[in-house]
């Protein structure tokens, strides 16, 4: 049986720029940063939660050929590559903090829903990041 999620990844166009956004703007912390030859194994994670790392992956050779790299880069910038969902205990406070740090690319400002309050923002490359403040859900799932 699989025990837990350990690493997930997000496609970025530039690792250094990604690190700046995810750490200095979004407020994550740097996880692993190891250079192996030309490859930089670079992760970020939720502060205080070292169990799950988000690997910042840049498409390119030798893993992807040039044509695939171009396709991936195009899809990333079109916002078509999925994204991440985080949980916070104060989504409106975080919204103000992100604005103060210069984040402007909001897809959705904080909005109340039956399961809590959430907002959504884009990273510099086009990935969607959703941030949720949960509350007890009264609505039961239908079968």
């Amino acid at each position: 049986m699989i025990a837990k999620l350990s690493v997930t990844s997000v496609w970025v166009l530039d690792k250094e720029q990604a690190l700046d956004f995810y750490v200095n703007k979004l407020g994550l912390e740097k996880g692993t940063d190891i250079k192996q030859g030309a490859y930089r194994w670079l992760t970020v994670r939720v502060p205080g939660d070292p169990g799950i790392e988000i690997s910042l992956e840049q498409p390119g050779p030798p893993v992807q050929d040039e044509a695939t790299t171009e396709q991936l880069r195009e899809l990333i910038t079109k916002g078509a590559m999925g994204g991440l969902v985080f949980v916070t205990d104060d989504v409106r406070g975080l919204f103000e903090t992100l604005k103060k740090r210069g984040v402007t690319d909001f897809i959705q400002e904080p909005a109340d829903n039956f399961y809590g309050t959430d907002m959504a923002v884009r990273d510099p490359f086009g990935n969607a990041i959703r941030i949720l403040q949960t509350k007890k859900v009264a609505r039961a799932a239908k079968a």
């Binding site: 916002g79 959430d118 510099p124 086009g126 609505r139 039961a140």
Partner: protein, 150 residues
């Protein structure tokens, strides 16, 4: 693909996000094009090339999706919902809703209750494809939309 194209895609996406964020406000295509820092005509053409539909259609589908959500989830009147989601005339709303969803807002409400999946999934996956097909593709915004189709 050149880095210019990537940067251009990203600007178009920023403009698309502005529509998702501010669908309830009286948007016009010039204001949304300004988010991408390009001219109106160029914006319409390139948005369609990159995302497969005109910005006007994108916005109308977003507004109709939000109205479907409110019809399912709230007791607000159809007229209130029409204005809540950014339409400025009840007639345009009903016509657009029927064109996109394939039935009237009232009929839709009767047949549908609240969904349990989180709103981000609803926003993404319950957004209607156009029931009437892609033939109707006007390119400006709001009530003036019926006139323009370059």
């Amino acid at each position: 693909m050149s880095r210019e194209v990537e940067e251009f895609n990203r600007r178009l996406l920023r403009a698309r996000d502005a529509m998702d964020r501010a669908y309830a406000e009286p948007l016009n295509v010039r204001a949304v094009a300004a988010v991408a820092h390009i001219s109106e005509a160029h914006f319409i053409r390139s948005f369609r090339a990159v995302f497969g539909e005109t910005p006007h259609r994108y916005l109308q589908r977003r507004r109709v999706e939000r109205s479907m959500f409110m019809l399912r989830d709230t007791d607000r009147s159809v007229t209130d919902i029409c204005f809540d989601v950014g339409f400025t005339s009840r007639g345009t709303f009903s016509r657009m809703f029927r064109e996109i969803v394939g039935e009237s807002p009232s009929d839709y409400r009767v047949g549908h209750g609240p969904l349990v999946v989180p709103n981000c999934f609803q926003v993404a996956f319950t957004r209607p494809v156009v029931a009437a097909g892609v033939a109707l593709q006007s390119s400006s915004f709001g009530d003036a939309s019926e006139q323009a189709a370059p």
